[in-house]
């Protein structure tokens, strides 16, 4: 991966009156890198993206994209930046083709038609080109939004939940398409999503935002290592009281979702010890499932900090 920085954010803050939406954050994204921006609702993800797009003015701090300040070189930066969000829409009374032609002009394309047809075909939308945007399903709208963000071959893509409201098949195709773009040319992406599996799959690095602050910035693998406990699910054949007694003796917090199934969280290195002890206590183990920590656990850990 290149060492050249595409986005450099330094000491960025945004206050709305007394409320601090983004609190003194600094991060950077290198050329060709895909970074996930995660956090619970209200963590400051959208405000950060809007500041990167120049739609919201920061209270303090600086944003440099392609080595230029967004406040003074907004047009130049946005010519090379694509944006797609599941939460914005386009003119409902215009056809898909008309909407994309309009945005082709905004992105400085003299003859956008050819590019539009190519992208519509790649996203299996070519038959819908003359359909009114307002008559599309939400999944189809998301795809059109994505095409809008990609039609000018941007070097930076800001994607706000790009696969929201897509069915699993189409969502997979969109991810495949984004992978293909990454393989074919050098493009940097900033990616927000509530689909943790997708983020782990797509992103080289993840930034966790919590109450406007960065609470973690690392690779998906390193982040999951911060969670020590694995989820142990055991299907057993023994009296329930024996299981409860065993859990009490071992100091385990156990849940019994069904009469013969128990779940418990134990540190990964103690899994073997627990299973051996259970067998030694005469509990017949019918089935065992060990779920290692994933990004969702990391997300929940940071999101629940707030509630505590």
């Amino acid at each position: 991966m290149s060492q050249k920085y595409i986005i450099e954010v330094s000491k960025l803050s945004k206050k709305f009156g007394k409320f601090t939406a983004v609190n003194n954050i600094s991060f950077s994204i290198r050329e060709g890198e895909t970074v996930g921006l995660l956090g619970p609702n209200g963590a400051g993800k959208t405000t950060t993206i809007n500041m990167l797009l120049g739609i919201i003015k920061p209270t303090s701090g600086s944003i440099r994209i392609f080595s230029k300040d967004i406040q003074t070189h907004r047009g130049e930066i946005l010519e090379k930046t694509g944006f797609s969000s599941a939460y914005t829409s386009m003119q409902s009374r215009l056809s898909v083709r008309e909407n994309l032609i309009v945005f082709g002009h905004y992105y400085g394309l003299k003859n956008p038609e050819g590019k539009i047809i190519k992208l519509l075909t790649e996203f299996s939308m070519d038959k819908l080109k003359n359909k009114l945007y307002g008559a599309l399903s939400s999944g189809q709208k998301t795809r059109v939004n994505l095409i809008r963000g990609l039609m000018h071959n941007p070097k930076l893509l800001l994607l706000d939940e790009p696969t929201a409201s897509l069915d699993p098949d189409i969502a997979e195709r969109v991810r495949e398409f984004l992978f293909t773009i990454r393989r074919k040319r050098i493009i940097s992406m900033l990616y927000t999503s509530h689909n943790m599996e997708e983020v782990a799959q797509m992103c080289d690095r993840i930034i966790f935002l919590h109450e406007g602050k960065i609470v973690a910035d690392d690779t998906p693998l390193e982040l999951t290592k911060t969670i020590e406990d694995s989820l142990l699910t055991i299907h057993f054949d023994a009296p329930l009281k024996d299981i409860k007694k065993f859990a009490e003796y071992k100091g385990l917090s156990v849940k019994i979702p069904q009469p013969n199934i128990m779940t418990t969280k134990v540190s990964t290195e103690k899994v073997g010890e627990v299973l051996t002890s259970l067998a030694a206590a005469g509990v017949k183990l019918v089935d065992v499932d060990i779920a290692k920590p994933n990004l969702e656990d990391v997300f929940l850990k940071f999101a629940r900090k707030k509630k505590k």
Partner: protein, 263 residues
């Protein structure tokens, strides 16, 4: 200023005109109804007073020219509202399109739509009531330009206010211009107004335009002083509107109102 960006704005709203019954109604139906109703009323008044040509010219001429003001102002303001109604504002301003290119695009679009509206209205007035707006001669051109300049000032101010204060004030796009209607003295001479309102009206370019139009029709002389006043006031108002728009747009970026605009 990027020519392609401006072309994009014009295309967006011309495509909309093609698909939207509301937009077609605003552009053609209401002005047509206006001409028909006012034409009948004028004919009725003429029957009472017997001063046919002048009354028709005053009333229908005023009506047609006020339509120019109304349309030009609405086209500038409603273009932004349409973006907000469709949750398209973030898409628009996350592209390289600048607010000024957006405004210039809507102004050119307004010109195109005014010509479409006027084409229908002028033809109808001529066909139904034998009224030819071009009887005003070359005087019509500077009048017309001054009316459009004033309408743009109001349109730019309304757009800035909606960007800054949100959709709760969207009705200004239709109503603000009407405040200036009685003071513009479209259908009656300025001295009809009470004296204190006359003083206010002289600060409106539209009042100078309609007074000037009446002078052309009644005396046949070209009203240079009215034209200079209207032009001067328009330069001041358009400059102030542009500065205010810039200020409001920047405030909206600061407060986050631009990003929340559909609200």
């Amino acid at each position: 200023m990027n020519r392609l960006h401006i072309k994009g704005v014009i295309l967006e709203h011309l495509y909309h005109l093609r698909h939207s019954i509301e937009d077609l109604t605003d552009t053609f139906f209401w002005p047509t109804m206006d001409v028909i109703i006012w034409g009948f009323m004028t004919t009725y008044f003429v029957g009472l007073s017997g001063t046919l040509p002048t009354v028709i010219t005053f009333l229908l001429g005023g009506l047609i020219l006020w339509n120019v003001v109304w349309r030009a102002q609405q086209d500038v303001s409603i273009a932004l509202l349409r973006g907000a109604w469709n949750r398209n504002i973030i898409n628009l301003f996350s592209s390289p399109l600048t607010p000024w290119e957006f405004i210039i695009g809507t102004i050119i679009l307004g010109f195109i739509k005014i010509f479409l509206t006027l084409g229908v209205v002028v033809t109808l007035a001529w066909f139904l009531w034998s009224y030819n707006i071009f009887d005003l001669g070359f005087a019509l051109i500077p009048f017309f330009v001054n009316l459009i300049l004033f309408a743009w000032s109001i349109g730019i101010i309304v757009t800035g206010l909606i960007v800054r204060f949100g959709m709760r004030i969207q009705s200004l796009a239709w109503s603000l211009i009407l405040i200036f209607h009685p003071l513009s003295c479209v259908f009656y001479p300025l001295d009809t107004l009470p004296s204190f309102l006359q003083k206010v009206a002289w600060y409106l370019p539209t009042a100078h335009v309609f007074e000037g139009m009446r002078q052309v029709l009644a005396e046949g002389s070209f009203p240079y002083s009215h034209l200079i006043w209207a032009g001067g006031l328009n330069i001041i108002y358009l400059s102030c509107a542009s500065i205010l728009f810039y200020f409001l747009f920047e405030k909206a970026r600061e407060s986050g109102a631009l990003a929340r605009l559909p609200e």
